[in-house]
Amino acid sequence: MEELLDILNGLKPGVDFENEKNLIEDRILDSLDVMNLTVELNDEFDIEITPLDILPENFKSVEAMYALITRLQDEG
Amino acid sequence: MKKQMKVKGWILDLSKIIVFLTICVVILRCLSPIFVPKNNNKDSGIKNENARGFYAEDPHTVDVLFVGNSDLYSAMNPLQLWKEHGYTSYVCAEPQQNVFGAYYMLKEVLTCQKPQLVVLEVDELFSTKEASDVDEAINNALKYTFPLFEYHSRWKDLKIEDFNDDGQFYNTRMKSKGYLYHSNVEPNNEGFTYMEKNRKKSITYSNKTYLKKFIELAHENDAEVLLVWYPSSTTGSNGRSETLESLAKELNVPYIDFNVNQYDTGFDWSTDTRDGGNHLNYSGATKMTKFIGEYLKENYQLIDHRENPEYDQWNTDYEVFMKENKLAY
């Protein structure tokens, strides 16, 4: 969770990731941000986020992203 | 019970749709007279004023009616026909006319004229797609039934008179009776070689249907029908001539094809066209009209009105035409 927040803040400083729950719909993160984020997350957590996983519901909040990461780690 | 409700629902929906459409039809009928031009000249907004001068001819005086596209108004001179044989004729030709336009044009003419013979220039029978032709059929039918579709762009020119209920007063005369004079020469150096070209030779079902309707309409009004194809390097081909030949036979209508046979008229591609083979010029029109005149004399019982004082206006028109175009007579 900590590392995730670090990455997010490094990518887009100034955004209150703890409280924002509609990052995609409110246009806080665009497809470029999602792409950069995905690349970093894949690297950091040794998972493989595919285009199939790039859905608004998986990236709309920190909790959603954390759930995605955990799921992909379990699937191995 | 449920099915009963459903059927009731359909009937209600259907009636709503029918009532809605009926209201639209009524409004179309009411608005159309406002937009229809009040005179048959260009300033009043009429379409193709050249083709609509027949309105101003005395009723029931035009004996031969020619209908077709721009090839026709370049190749047929009614005043020459008058001079040589005393037959009264009019050329109702519109640029890019199609057979649907021809059919409704004939209807228009029949409201005030009673020709004995109707001649159709068949160049317009060749089109590209069946779907476009069906669309054109609908388009022309709509425009004829509700002139609003034809003249809606007059919204920019509407005047108080348009809202009065005086009706149309078509009195603009076209002295050259629908013929458009051109004397310039631009030769067609390839002559009749265009006949070898492989042009689409079938006639769409829609076109054929309306050709039959056209002929029927003429027959119902005691007019005979004659088909003609003037020389046209942009559209002629042997395949097409064959198609027309058999179609004419099937419909039992005489057919003159100048692309195939020039009948010793002296027609010459180097002197008789004004744009390299698409349209004829005055020289070509003279030869074509001469032949048509003789053909009509031999095959039809048309009246020579030259001695009839009631037709004296035609003599005046002839003189004005020749003077205006600086022709010897």
């Binding site: 690297d43 | 069946e130 779907a131 669309d135 809606h152 919204w155 920019k156």
Partner: protein
């Protein structure tokens, strides 16, 4: 048989609707399939059907093949140990990639050949062969109707199956209908299989609300196309076809009117198409979301031609940026460049591919490639300069939320888009260049010239009035209000009067028939 012709609106839609209503639910989809192929033949040439059939068949087989490979894995993996499983999985993955590659080769290859052969031949000739007094000959090639659209739909289907988004469809009819559906075949929208295929297949019973609201949507589209777009077309052609003789305000007006024309024509066509589908209770995706209220170019391309944008995002952008090659590139960038650069470099590289594709998709010429590059460069500059802009705004004490600033952003976007439209419409890059500078030449606020640009002054007023109507409707929609539903709740006298007046506005003020040239659909040449 264009979407605004009588034959389509009355005969074709009418008969298809009647048959669809009368057929039993299980077979209603066959009416749509038959109508779609009939439409294809009527609107195009009979023999060109071969291409869409080929795409349908190859993609149908390809998807099933991929599914079979997956199934094979599922069966076999139980008897393998961990090492063998991994190796087998890799081998099968490679096989699946080959199938996708084959699909792309056949379908994208056909599109590429028919559409771009002459363009690439010319480029190669100029670059290489002319120097050797040789040349690749140009070919006279036919472009099958809708190939740029149905090919993208087909590719998205295969790639989705490859990615495991859904299973392959074993029903060929459904796949064929998905690709050939007559409302989408000419200009899109580029629909996804999971959005639309089941809707097309399941057969919907007659629904009065959808029938009438679909018809109303069609009427709205007709208004935009016939009253505004076809009218503006005349002025635009008048100036652009003769651009050397115009300068100053005339050119600016022509460019702005072209933007208006393209928007009202394309979105109007989309309305007619979506309305046509709604009559059958089928919901097609939207392509436009009030694009001219965008505050940035980024946002603009998320509101303009949305289905193309999302297709490029899902199948080019993500495919490129999440590929293993890109992973390595990313790592390299992180190690060798400073942090700021390293973050932006992969993104901008991936974007490059997206914009090359966008440009090329629109046309086979340098001009269209430059059109794509124009937007690419603007976006990249925006991305790199973001921190600088932020600093400037902070020092000037400009708030991002301020209304004036938002207005500034919108106007700035409109300006950038209009310049893009100039490139899109001009004959060549050099004419676009010339026209851009001629705007500043002889510029005077002499509005009287507006009557000399090919149409009467009343027609100009009609365009302006029409645009204002579209603008107001845009504002209403931006607020989330569903207009057709709102009107449906009015009392019958008011709403019927509204419908009838709207219908007659289209009939009387439409720029069709006598005195108006017929404007062909701009996007239909793709």
């Amino acid at each position: 048989m264009g979407y605004t012709t009588y034959v389509y609106l009355t005969l074709f839609l009418g008969i298809t609707f009647l048959l669809y209503t009368v057929f039993p639910k299980k077979y209603k989809w066959t009416v749509l399939l038959g109508a779609s192929y009939l439409y294809y033949v009527a609107a195009s040439r009979l023999w060109l059907i071969v291409f869409i059939l080929m795409t349908s068949i190859t993609v149908y087989i390809g998807a099933i093949w991929i599914d079979n490979i997956n199934e094979l894995f599922q069966c076999v993996k139980k008897v393998l140990d961990r090492e063998q499983k991994k190796a087998f999985k890799e081998k099968l993955l490679w096989q699946k990639k080959m199938v996708v590659g084959l699909m792309l080769l056949i379908n994208l290859g056909t599109l590429a050949f028919l559409k771009y052969y002459n363009f690439f031949a010319e480029v190669l000739n100029i670059a290489i062969f002319d120097h050797f007094y040789a040349s690749i000959p140009a070919l006279k090639l036919f472009l099958p109707l809708g190939i740029s659209f149905y090919t993208l739909q087909a590719i998205s289907y295969v790639i989705d199956v490859y990615r495991g988004k859904y299973k392959a469809d074993r029903c060929f009819g459904r796949v064929a209908l998905f690709l050939a559906f007559f409302p989408t075949i000419v200009e899109g929208p580029i629909a996804r299989y999971d959005q639309v295929a089941q809707q097309l297949y399941e057969g919907h019973s007659y629904n009065y609300v959808n029938l009438t609201q679909g018809a109303q949507l069609i009427l709205w589209g007709m208004f935009k196309k016939l009253v505004i777009a076809d009218r503006a077309n005349m002025l635009v052609n008048h100036v652009f076809d003769d651009y050397l003789n115009y300068s100053g305000l005339s050119v600016v007006i022509a460019i702005v009117f072209y933007t208006i024309q393209l928007y009202t024509e394309f979105s109007g066509c989309m309305d007619i198409v979506r309305g046509s589908a709604q009559i059958f209770s089928i919901n097609l995706p939207e392509n436009f979301k009030q694009p001219f209220f965008s505050k940035s170019i980024n946002e603009f391309w998320q509101r303009w031609h949305m289905t193309l944008g999302s297709w490029l995002r899902d199948y080019v952008f993500y495919s490129v940026s999440l590929s293993s090659f890109f992973k390595k590139f990313n790592r390299y960038a992180r190690e060798h460049f400073n942090e700021y650069f390293a973050k932006l470099l992969p993104a901008t590289t991936a974007l490059f591919f997206v914009w090359i594709c966008n440009g090329l998709w629109h046309g086979a010429s340098i001009k269209y490639v430059m059109y794509g590059m124009y937007y690419y460069i603007i976006m990249v500059i925006g991305m790199f300069m973001e921190p600088v802009f932020n600093k400037i705004m902070n020092s000037l004490h400009i708030k991002k939320e301020a209304k004036c600033f938002k207005l500034f952003q919108i106007l700035r976007t409109v300006l950038i888009v209009n310049i893009g439209m100039l490139i899109f419409r001009a004959d060549t890059l050099s004419s676009a260049w010339h026209m851009f500078f001629s705007c500043f030449h002889n510029f005077q606020f002499d509005w009287s010239i507006v009557g000399n640009l090919g149409i009467d002054i009343q027609d100009v007023y009609a365009i302006i009035l029409g645009t204002i109507v579209v603008f107001v409707v845009g504002i209403i929609k931006e607020k989330g209000i569903h207009i057709r539903e709102t009107v449906a709740n009015w009392n019958i006298v008011f709403r019927w009067t509204f419908y009838i007046i709207s219908l007659f506005i289209v009939i009387i003020f439409g720029a069709y028939g006598r005195g108006y040239d017929i404007a062909s659909l701009i996007y239909a040449q793709f």
